[in-house]
Symmetry: C2
Subunit: 207 residues, 2 copies
DNA sequence: GTCTATAGCAGGATAGAC
DNA sequence: GTCTATCCTGCTATAGAC
């Protein structure tokens, strides 16, 4: 269980915090065990009391991300209520807003950055991308569009295609957003593009 | 100048070839100078007669890529002729076909893979992505859509928005394509999605 | 332009005392 | 669970002979 006392963080959690921060800046290979332990304030050898090896730290981080991201999509059971009580614009704007709040939490931004950095080096990162993010989001949206068609709110088109048309631009805009943040460059252009996309998309599918 | 005699490749070119291949598989940090020189068939010290350091090898590869990618977009001067002599479908299908031929050349696929791998570690990779690829493609397409509107072939909409709507999905589908190739998984699904996107897009903008 | 030899350092990980 | 001390390996890069 979590620490019962306030402000006390276990060494293991401190290691995870520091590793999350460093990995998100320099990538897994760019960070040494020495660096992590120096930042945590323990000796290298002590780290091995908490993790078998460096790899296990990243694996733990990835598993935490999986749990965290799964929370961003509402369960199908409450979807009907949400759809019934929202306008088309309201629904997608709220979804976008939710995601923005998710990624604006520093911890989540770091998760995402690690995932982007490691996607071509680490098979687990690729798996999370392809399944936990891309596939699960598209599957969710496919159901959303099926329901929207049934409700007579949008044109009759293949739900699967609609999901792709809505979501794929968001994926690459998010990747661009991430790259810009990496260099601390201005992101207002790409954020505006995301909004423009949502409105363009709605205008083309609306009945 | 290039070697005048046939089949003779300079050591420098051989180093670049081997580095391109290895970097595209394991990333810059995953490949050592030792590994490159072993594969080339020279000693580590000999490499430093051709490149100042390991970094300069990657830099040279990136500059070669810049040149190569610039060839994929037709010059604006011949664009009018192409547009006048093509149907809407024909124009975009041919563009997609051109790109497929580009990325199916093993050397180019390796270039792309390195770029994806290094985009969060190497500022130059990010610059190439943001400017040489994203910005230049969007700028090109913006001109294309301006001309198509002037020709009365598509609806009057903001050319900039049309460029984004056409191209951003292609970027993320290409990223997914790359990930799948990395694991030697089947890419027919994502290739079909690319085609579906082109047709969906055309159907929404066509007059 | 290639080689041998080596410097100089940083990496992950372990043994064993406390 | 933390420490000191250490191992071993691999890394980039250089000096200098041929």
């Amino acid at each position: 269980m979590k620490q019962t006392d306030k402000s006390k963080i276990s060494t293991k959690d401190k290691i995870l915090d520091v590793a999350l921060d460093l990995f998100s800046q320099k990538g897994y290979m760019g960070v040494s065990v020495r660096e992590i332990t120096r930042e945590v304030g323990i000796k290298e050898s002590s780290l091995y009391n908490h993790f078998q090896n460096k790899d296990e730290i990243l694996e733990t981080i990835f598993n935490l991300f999986r749990q965290e991201f799964a929370k961003t999509l509402p369960p199908i059971t409450v979807l009907d209520d949400i759809l019934a009580s929202s306008t088309l614009e309201g629904f997608f704007e709220r979804g976008f807003q939710n995601f923005k709040e998710h990624i604006n939490q520093p911890k989540n931004e770091k998760f995402w950055r690690i995932l982007f950095i490691e996607q071509y080096r680490d098979p687990m990162a690729r798996e999370i991308f392809l399944y936990d993010i891309i596939k699960s989001t598209l599957d969710f949206l496919e159901i959303v569009f099926e329901k929207l068609i049934a409700l007579g709110k949008i044109k009759k088109m293949t739900p699967n295609l609609l999901a792709s048309e809505y979501q794929y631009p968001m994926f690459s805009m998010l990747a661009e957003y991430n790259m810009l943040r990496f260099d601390q460059k201005d992101t207002s252009d790409i954020e505006r593009k995301m909004k423009d996309h949502i409105h363009f998309f709605i205008s083309t599918v609306k009945l």
